[in-house]
Chain length 203, copies 2
Amino acid sequence: MTDETEAEGHRQKMAKRKEVQDAEVASKTVTEKGLLLVHTGAGKGKSTAAFGLVLRMLGQGRACGVVQFIKGAWDTGERRVLERIGPLCEWHSMGEGFTWETQDRDRDIAACRAAWDKAREMMAQPDLALLVLDELCIALRYKYLDADEVVATLRARRPGLHVVVTGRNAPAALTEVADLVTDMVPVKHHFAAGVKAQAGIEF
Amino acid sequence: MTDETEAEGHRQKMAKRKEVQDAEVASKTVTEKGLLLVHTGAGKGKSTAAFGLVLRMLGQGRACGVVQFIKGAWDTGERRVLERIGPLCEWHSMGEGFTWETQDRDRDIAACRAAWDKAREMMAQPDLALLVLDELCIALRYKYLDADEVVATLRARRPGLHVVVTGRNAPAALTEVADLVTDMVPVKHHFAAGVKAQAGIEF
């Protein structure tokens, strides 16, 4: 098969796909709703994509919030810009470092509980369009928060509010009620090749 | 096993992991280098994570560029904010719509070629820290651009320049030379449940 024939084949396939997609879109009757999005997996991009959504939502002139359950120093880059953008974005880093660094379960639980209180407070803001609960999955994974309570609260949120939850090992209780779950799978990572964390890429 | 015992087990495992990671980091001798990052897969988050990286890099005060090979209307949100942030971010939407919409292969090729020329022009800017080549994989997939030429040019770029390439079906020629490849796998998607594209989430 020549490249030209192959390309023509693709073109026809894409035209067909477009047709199917158009029909699908036309058939959709479900209207707008606040989504529960989960970015999980061991790959890079979970928090980054969440902050990309914040950027997108801010571009639509809607208010966003970020609560970080496990503070990471590498988040200073985006935090700096988002804070500069203005009052539409409210950012709270509530974690006190990674649990395997602090070695203090009680302190970790208290920090996660405070972050969760802040998250609930923000969910009550009537104008908030998007809330990022960064690394909440980690807090659930180590049972620093009660998954049933968290999931019930997320489900009971205001219908128009979008929530993005990030972190490895999203619990099934969460993914079951989520509207979107993306698993970020690391196919290749530069850390394995000995390249260190760099400004603008990792933080 | 009680929750408490399990949590303690995790804590010990994490402490061990921290030890291993610290040793690994300490052993790394490779210094900073411009990375070639590829976000591929059928899941949501490829471009969003790329724009999140732009946000992060801008927060570090470094210049970024975006070239969109296949223009998507849903990108207006982030584009709007990034342009507002100031002169550090340069954005070019060079595509003319999806190929399955235009049905004009010659026009598509011309548009991709113009986008690629723009990308090469931006790669030559000595102060650029990060360049996003959004949906370049699609242009390669449909052979609108020559993959060998693109890969050779990317490999020959200035050593300090980070490049993010997004799009489904990243060709092997590209992933082979990439430093990081993340496969965004859709576990669940709200479109399947009939929820339409919404401002701030999809565009």
